[in-house]
């Protein structure tokens, strides 16, 4: 929840802006003052979807235009007032967001952006075909206020400002909550987010409908200000581009970005139109374009982030001193390397039956079956390409099995979405690490905690516990982008732990670590097992594995070669053959 103090800048900005606009009597400057918050809100609505999830939308004009036409047509045909129609337009925008989002979120990256581009262009032609090439909001001479037709243009600015403040507050609220965390996680790594128990589709749909609702409402208000609605002026490419321009200029993924962008660019464009337009027609576009290009070159992430980085750099030396002590990373007391010989529990927590998956002609996993007992550490080994990671992907839902079953505590979960499997108690880490680099360690872990937490506070509590279990408490505030490989591995472990799983799937957690570092991580894993966690681990480093695991499962060409206790498995000739080739079998001790 945003505190009053964190909202102070927004409130102060709005108050100053309102005071300035009240003192401007020139109706043209007032119009520009009205358009600044209008485009800022549109930029904020774009930012809410694209800034936080990273799914670039080239088609926000779709929502904007639907709002604008809803208001114009509602007033023309049903004599409804914009006071009523603007909220309605918000509702319509939200519904449009759902309808557009549901099919389009199947696409990712550039494909999503291009698909979004198509919606406003398609709707544009629908409105032309319906014969709404030009419509105007009827002038109301009798009861203008009831139809939002003010004699004093300052009222429009105040109204726009109120909508902007509301949007800023809403964005702040989203930013600080589970909602914003989920969106940020999706932006930085959608697969990791899904594996951390975030229902990415549901959160993305919430984001696009909220974003669509804001765009629809501000589109409706824009129609009231412009008074004339044409398909080009509300569904056109330039409208979608305007949202991108103000947000990218000011800074993506922050509430201030679109506001800064709008406050600078809209008056600049207008001044250029006014001053240069009639003298050197066309020059305004050139200057405007150059200005945007220059700023993007100097500050590719937008002005806000550039200013923040500059500010940070200036205050960095001081912060560095303070951080020196804990910067010596995680220190973990090396535990005795005792061989664990715990009685194998009879409880089966995970049972895999005849799991198979093919990619075209390649049988990546064939008829794999095994059982994972409570409190057991199972090592899954095999040469490169044996299908180890594919098994994990089938277990946690990234892939659907062609055949076979995955039973978690007796319940068949095969083919479920990753976030559902995460909720059922399976956490995982990745071979290629998937941190959220712009977030702190603690925030990275909080993302994983939401699956088990009811409130934001509880999530932070669970996350802090998980961070301390892996020994990273001292550096919890650092950005994930600045960490060493070992710290990242531990952080990923913490993220998986924060969701309070019963089973952990660890995919090459020791890869890329030096000898000493690997030992530290092994110690942490051993401690987890001692605390009652059930673990399946993929690993290449045999030495570490032999010490760690209770039993091995050996895969080659997607099939199980053998399974059993470490001592037996490492002597098995089939295992040696799979790893080293036939001629080594003879040399192996028998």
């Amino acid at each position: 929840m945003p505190t009053l103090r964190s909202l102070l800048p927004a409130l102060a900005f709005t108050a100053i802006y309102a005071a300035i606009s009240l003192s401007v009597s020139n109706s043209y400057y007032q119009l520009v003052l009205t358009l600044v918050p209008v485009w800022a809100v549109f930029g904020l609505s774009w930012n809410l979807l694209s800034g936080y999830t990273g799914l670039i939308s080239f088609g926000h004009a779709a929502f904007f235009g639907i709002g604008a036409y809803a208001t114009a047509l509602g007033q023309i045909y049903f004599d409804l007032s914009p006071w009523f129609l603007i909220p309605m337009a918000g509702l319509l925008g939200g519904v449009a967001g759902l309808l557009i989002g549901y099919p389009t979120f199947r696409l990712q990256g550039h494909y999503f952006a291009l698909a979004m581009l198509a919606y406003p262009l398609a709707i544009l032609y629908v409105f032309e075909w319906l014969g709404f090439q030009e419509i105007t909001l009827p002038i109301k001479r009798d009861n203008p206020i009831a139809y939002m037709q003010f004699g004093d243009p300052r009222l429009y600015t105040l109204l726009a400002l109120a909508m902007m403040l509301a949007t800023i507050l809403l964005t702040r609220l989203v930013e600080r909550s589970r909602f914003g965390m989920a969106l940020l996680a999706i932006k930085q790594n959608e697969a990791a987010a899904e594996a951390a128990g975030i229902n990415t589709l549901a959160w993305k749909l919430r984001a696009i409908s909220l974003s669509g609702a804001i765009a629809g409402a501000i589109g409706a208000f824009y129609a009231v200000v412009l008074l004339v609605v044409t398909p080009q002026s509300v569904f056109g490419m330039l409208v979608s581009a305007q949202a991108l321009t103000v947000a990218m200029f000011g800074g993506v993924g922050t509430v201030w970005g679109p506001v800064i962008g709008s406050v600078i660019l809209i008056p600049l464009a207008e001044t250029l139109n006014a001053e240069a337009g009639s003298r050197f027609p066309g020059i305004q576009g050139v200057i405007f374009g150059l200005a945007v290009v220059c700023v993007i070159l100097v500050a590719p992430e937008g002005l806000f982030w550039k200013l923040r980085d500059l500010h940070r750099k200036r205050s960095a030396p001081k912060a560095g001193d303070a951080q020196q002590a804990p910067a010596s990373t995680a220190t973990i007391t090396t535990l005795q390397r005792e061989l664990r010989r715990r009685p194998a529990s009879a409880d089966v927590v995970l049972e895999v039956q005849n799991l198979s998956r093919s990619f075209g002609g390649l049988k990546a996993v064939q008829d794999v079956s095994f059982k994972l007992h409570k409190n057991e550490i199972l090592g899954i080994i095999g040469p490169n390409g044996a299908g180890k990671t594919t098994v994990f992907n089938l277990l946690n839902g990234f892939l659907r099995p062609d055949r076979g079953k995955v039973l978690i505590s007796g319940r068949d979960m095969s083919g479920q979405k990753p976030h559902a499997i995460c909720e059922a108690g399976i956490g995982r880490t990745f071979q290629v690490m998937r941190p959220f680099p712009r977030m702190s360690i603690l925030d990275n872990v909080v993302v994983g905690a939401y699956v088990a937490a009811k409130s934001d506070a509880q999530a932070r509590q669970l996350a802090a516990n998980a961070v301390s279990r892996v020994g990273l408490s001292a550096v919890a505030g650092r950005l994930a982008g600045e960490l060493s490989t070992k710290e990242l591995r531990l952080m990923e472990l913490a993220r998986a732990l924060a969701g309070q799983p019963r089973i952990l799937l660890l995919d090459e957690t020791l890869a890329g670590l030096g000898h000493g570092e690997a030992d530290e991580v092994v110690t942490v894993i051993q401690q987890l097992a001692r605390d009652g966690m059930t673990i399946a681990i993929i690993e290449h480093t045999m030495q570490a594995m032999v010490r760690l695991v209770d039993s091995f499962l050996v895969l080659d060409h997607g099939a199980v070669i053998t399974e059993g206790e470490p001592e037996a498995v490492t002597r098995d000739s089939r295992v040696i053959e799979a790893y080293l080739g036939k001629k080594w079998v003879a040399h192996a001790p028998h």
Binding site: V24, I139, N273, G277, Q284, G285, L307
Partner: protein
């Protein structure tokens, strides 16, 4: 910290804006012997070319008026043209209009804004500022809103088709000896084209004994005209109504017609609007392909305008006088006339004079009078039919304005 930086930038910028506003309003105070008239037209972007021609027409008129002694009722005050760029979007046009009324408080009237979408937005502003605006845009909607300060000098889109159709049928009958029976309509989906095509479909064709055999609407710009032309070839209509707004569409279709053996009069082609008669056409289409093509426009350089046409050619190097030049030229004279009657340089008085004006037969707009009805439409507003003849679109109808005899392409 950074947040504070953001808002201080804003404050500084807005203060700069406010102070420049004061500078502008101070310089705009001028001597009483000058009367300001606005011209708000697109000078940048997609529609810059027609906007420029409108400015040429306005400049010529203002020069002529001033050379002939200015506004006599105001002691020979000279007209001063204030030109504003409406840009290429509805929003820019509306902003420009707001700038015009806010920063030029002593304007008495204005003319604009070419595209009817722009005119609609501009007049929403000028209406609230009680500034009279004359326009050549011909969307019916412009004068259907109950506005008091907008005056439409062209016949509206609906009325143009109503006037043109009987004339075209008569022309075809006298020239070819046989009355046309079937027609095809190929229209783009822009506002003006849609309005003209709609009135034809909904009764006008039937009233004139014509049967619609092909009816196709396309979205500009066309990528390929083949499917459209194939339909025309299959139906073989007696007349083809072709309503493009974009020059490239006109070129594509005419070339494709020629390729299919339907061009150069095999199927007489009639257009609505100015696109097909713009000077730019000749840069992409050969005069042979255009020979005989007719278009119905609200106004054109015609009989009685010979000296103006010559001056426009000499001064601005324009090959002929389009609607944009002649109509805007006429607008300035109408404003001058209203000022003479008002007797003072005041926008309310000028608006009142325009409403009550009875200026006799129109000189620069085709037919009708210089008199406006309650809606602001010019009484008896006629239209012209223009035909491409040897590489020049010349007025061939109405007879009293015709610079040449129409010919019907012989098949």
């Amino acid at each position: 910290m950074n947040r504070r930086t953001g808002s201080s930038i804003t404050r500084r910028m807005l203060l700069a804006g406010a102070s420049s506003a004061m500078i502008v309003s101070r310089t705009s105070a001028q001597g009483p012997s000058e009367v300001k008239v606005g011209l708000l037209v697109p000078l940048s972007g997609l529609y810059a070319r027609p906007g420029t021609v409108m400015r040429e027409g306005a400049e010529m008129a203002v020069d002529h008026i001033n050379a002939q002694g200015g506004i006599k009722a105001l002691g020979g005050a000279r007209l001063k043209l204030i030109v504003l760029d409406s840009g290429d979007t509805t929003e820019k046009a509306k902003n420009a209009a707001q700038r015009m009324v806010a920063q030029e408080p002593d304007l008495v009237a204005a003319s604009g804004a070419y595209l009817s979408s722009f005119t609609l937005a501009v007049t929403e502003v000028t209406e609230r500022a009680s500034l009279p605006v004359l326009t050549l845009s011909y969307s019916d909607l412009i004068t259907d809103r109950g506005f008091k300060y907008v005056f439409q000098t062209s016949a509206t889109a609906g009325s143009q088709a109503r006037q043109a159709l009987p004339q075209l049928v008569k022309l075809a009958e006298t020239a070819s000896g046989k009355r046309p029976k079937t027609v095809a309509i190929l229209t783009d989906n822009t506002a003006a084209s849609v309005a003209s095509a709609k009135s034809m479909r909904e009764g006008l064709l039937a009233e004139n004994g014509l049967q619609l055999t092909v009816d196709e609407t396309f979205t500009p710009p066309l990528a390929d005209a083949t499917p459209l032309v194939q339909k025309v070839r299959a139906a073989r209509p007696d007349l083809l109504f072709f309503l493009p707004t974009v020059i490239s569409d006109a070129k594509l279709l005419l070339e494709k017609m020629n390729e299919f053996g339907l061009g150069q009069g095999k199927v007489p082609t009639i257009s609505f609007g100015i696109a097909i008669a713009e000077p730019d056409m000749l840069q992409t289409v050969s005069p042979e392909l255009l020979q005989g093509v007719l278009t119905c426009v609200a106004s054109w350089g015609a009989k009685g305008h010979e000296a103006l046409i010559a001056e426009l050619k000499k001064r601005y190097n324009e090959p002929w006088m389009t609607q944009n030049a002649i109509s805007t030229y006429g607008d300035m004279w109408v404003i001058k006339e209203a000022l003479e009657r008002a007797g003072k340089a005041d926008r309310a008085a000028v608006a009142e004079a325009l409403h009550s004006m009875d200026g006799g037969p129109s000189k620069y707009y085709p037919l009708g009078e210089i008199k406006f009805d309650d809606k602001g439409r010019r009484l008896g507003a006629g239209m012209t039919i223009v035909q491409w003849q040897s590489g020049v679109p010349v007025t061939v109808f109405p007879p009293e304005l015709a610079l040449a005899q129409p010919f019907w392409p012989k098949s």
